[in-house]
């Protein structure tokens, strides 16, 4: 008792110093590895910088250049396409899959492990696997479509299917989101469903009026996390667009349909040695991400339900 009192009565300044000392590994790591590079990239975005020479101040020239850079707009369009198509589809599949996993099936732990399995496969390995699966001539996906007499697209060499292929590969790891939704479904009170059933509500009405609002906080979190992942997509289009048969290494896919924002940023920084322009692109991506996040958070007032209100 007396020991506890003496600890509580420790001077505030000394306690603060002790606290800071214990937190210093994180604080120093954050300042050196995150804060400094972020601030430095802000400065570099206003310069002509190549990594090797001293940066030369150019003001807003890098940002102005983006306006007339057709590839910048193409990469932004592609990335927004991946995001606005991929995120809703990912959420829809996850919720549907979580409902199936939530049934009382035999061997349920095994099914749950199986849906998560693709998430532990490295993205590069998965990319090379899907290059074969999506091959227009010999791929398994087109073979299945052929069985059902569905037209088989040229996934990787047709400009209108390049972006879809990237989304398909992104959805490969949908199992992670599915399991989070499964946990959310298990937290929905059963009595709500029982009451609704007594009132004569069918499965669709039960989903729309009970499940959807009750899992909406999880949906909000998932939408934001997935949106950020899709906006930063790099590995999947980079691997899919490398074509060993053709010897091309453009990493942009047919008709530049796989040119993601991050790939174009990387090209500018490390291939074209335009690190100033790449830094400016990074800041634009940050603001685009921030704007979409704020928009989602603002809209959340209308569709996210917190039962502690």
């Amino acid at each position: 008792m007396s020991e506890a009192r003496s600890r509580n009565s420790e001077p505030t300044g000394r306690a603060l110093l002790k606290g800071l000392a214990f937190a210093s590994p994180f604080i120093i790591g954050f300042l050196v590895l995150y804060a400094w590079p972020i601030l430095a990239s802000g400065y570099y975005s206003l310069t002509d910088f190549s990594l090797f020479k001293a940066p030369k101040w150019v003001g807003l020239a890098n940002y102005e250049r983006m306006i007339s850079d057709a590839k910048f707009w193409k990469s932004l369009y592609n990335t927004l396409f991946f995001t606005f198509v991929g995120v809703p589809v990912d959420i829809a599949i996850s919720i549907a899959g979580a409902h199936i996993l939530n049934q009382k099936l035999k061997g349920q732990p095994l099914w749950r492990a199986l849906v998560y399995l693709p998430s532990i496969v490295p993205a590069v390995a998965a990319g090379f696997l899907w290059r074969w699966l999506l091959n227009a001539q010999y791929g398994f996906v087109n073979e299945i479509l052929r069985w059902f007499r569905i037209p088989q697209p040229n996934w990787l060499l047709d400009a209108s299917w390049g972006g879809i292929s990237v989304i398909v590969l992104m959805l490969w790891t949908v199992g992670g989101t599915m399991l989070i939704y499964l946990a959310a479904l298990k937290n929905v009170p059963q009595e709500l469903y029982e009451a609704a059933e007594l009132d004569g509500a069918g499965p669709l009405r039960r989903f729309w009026h009970i499940t959807w609002p009750m899992i909406s906080p999880v949906t909000l979190f998932q939408v934001i996390v997935l949106m950020i992942a899709f906006l930063q997509v790099f590995t999947q289009p980079f691997v899919l667009s490398k074509d060993p048969g053709l010897g091309t290494q453009t990493a942009t896919g047919p008709g530049d349909s796989m040119l993601s924002y991050s790939i174009y940023l990387f090209q500018n920084g490390f291939t074209f040695l335009k690190m100033g322009y790449a830094s400016a692109m990074a800041w634009v991506l940050l603001f685009v991400t921030l704007a979409i996040t704020l928009l989602i958070l603002w809209s959340a007032k209308k569709w996210v339900f917190y039962d502690n209100r």
Partner: protein, 406 residues
């Protein structure tokens, strides 16, 4: 036990003292596999001949890592290799050591090669091997179709027609002229029509004859089978120079290829031939371009004298001959073009003869090459997709050249 330990420690100490007497330099090379093994043999030969320098070879095929290493005060290597297209940009960044101080006699290097390695009168790199492109063909397929190897672009068009096969469902089963490297093939076709995509150190994507060359491929190869059928067929091509290689598999009858194909085709047991690139006119026969594998010393080396010694050794005639022969690459020296060492490489003479041809073009150093090549690749793809004509696609490239580093 203690005796054995003592012997090991004495042996280790002796080795350490031996290594300390010599200057150790690191040679980081982009090659791997058989090429890497050939280089390791050259390094071993050099080390055996030396009592002052010891070279440590490291295979590192990651160009981004190579570049990153040159951005620090002290780099991870003292000598390395790359391609001529990067020399202008890298020398402009101050990361390449000028080589003039080593007093290397450059009179034996072809003019088309030196043109690419000297920037503003300063030598920044030396050739270890060179490459040019010629028309390689599958003899069996040409014989079956009754086609003789073409010498003009008109004959080439006719040959493509006869050698392209489509089944009853409209699926392509054989292409008369394929591209194993889209950019290299398209650029070669541009030269075949007397065009140039980079004239006098400036990007010229809308050069009328270059446009004609790119359009030739679409009109004669893609359009007759439709872009959709063409791209579906191409999607089935296996990895380059593997067992599933499109040329080896007989999926393409003719292709513009570099000299390294001589070794692969022969080892694959193919019945093949090669002729100079057909020209639009007789004067343009054999029009091609030369790419150069180069050796350089980064500015941040701590051992420039030792690196310079090794550089002189590796580009010396006997070593260059040995290296280029093992890889079936062209040497970077005029005197080696007539060497009997390459006689055992079938059909190699066609590429060797082109080394000194006035129709073999060298690319002047340019800062914008990486960006320009990326834009050209997008334009070529757009043409192959049937989305744009060659003129429109290359005009889009021309519209972007204003923002290139100059």
């Amino acid at each position: 036990m203690s005796t054995a330990l003592g012997v090991v420690m004495m042996f280790g100490g002796a080795l350490g003292a031996y290594a300390q007497d010599k200057t150790e330099i690191t040679f980081s090379y982009l090659w791997g596999g058989a090429e890497g093994a050939a280089l390791e043999q050259i390094i071993a030969d050099f080390n055996a001949s030396q009592d002052k320098i010891v070279v440590k070879g490291v295979s590192s095929p990651d160009m981004t890592k190579q570049l990153a290493s040159m951005s620090s005060a002290k780099g991870a290597f003292d000598i390395s290799d790359n391609f001529a297209s990067n020399i202008a940009s890298w020398s402009n960044q101050g990361i390449l050591l000028p080589l003039d101080e080593f007093g290397i006699d450059t009179s034996d290097f072809p003019e088309s090669v030196m043109k690419q390695l000297v920037v503003d009168g300063v030598l920044y790199s030396l050739p270890i091997a060179t490459h040019n492109f010629q028309l390689v063909y599958n003899k069996k397929l040409l014989d079956e179709a009754g086609v003789t190897p073409p010498t003009t672009t008109a004959e080439l068009a006719e040959a493509i027609k006869k050698l392209t096969k489509v089944d009853a469902e409209g699926n392509v089963t054989q292409l008369g002229l394929g591209l194993t490297d889209i950019s290299a093939g398209m650029k070669t076709l541009g030269y075949a029509f007397g065009g140039d995509w980079n004239r006098d150190g400036k990007p010229t994507p809308t050069d009328a004859n270059f446009v004609k060359g790119v359009q030739f491929y679409y009109d004669n190869v893609v359009a007759p089978v439709t872009p959709a059928a063409y791209n579906k067929f191409v999607a089935g091509f296996g990895p380059y120079m593997s067992d599933q290689d499109s040329f080896k598999q007989g999926k393409i009858a003719m292709v513009f290829e570099g000299e390294w194909r001589a070794k692969f085709n022969t080892e694959a047991g193919m019945d093949w031939g090669v002729v100079p690139v057909p020209g639009e006119t007789p004067e343009l026969l054999g029009s091609t371009w030369v790419d150069v594998s180069t050796m350089f010393i980064p500015t941040n080396t701590g051992n420039k004298e030792a690196a310079g010694e090794f550089l002189k050794y590796i580009v010396s005639p006997p070593v260059m001959e040995k290296f280029s022969h093992v890889l079936a690459n062209l040497p970077g020296r005029i005197s080696l073009a007539s060497s009997a060492a390459y006689d055992d490489l079938p059909n190699f003479k066609v590429w060797l003869d082109a080394m000194n041809s006035p129709n073999t073009h060298g690319l002047p150093p340019a800062l914008y090459m990486a960006e320009y090549n990326a834009d050209l690749a997008s334009a070529f793809d757009s043409v192959l997709q049937g989305a744009q004509t060659a003129e429109a696609a290359l005009q889009a490239v021309a519209d972007r050249t204003g923002s290139y580093s100059q």
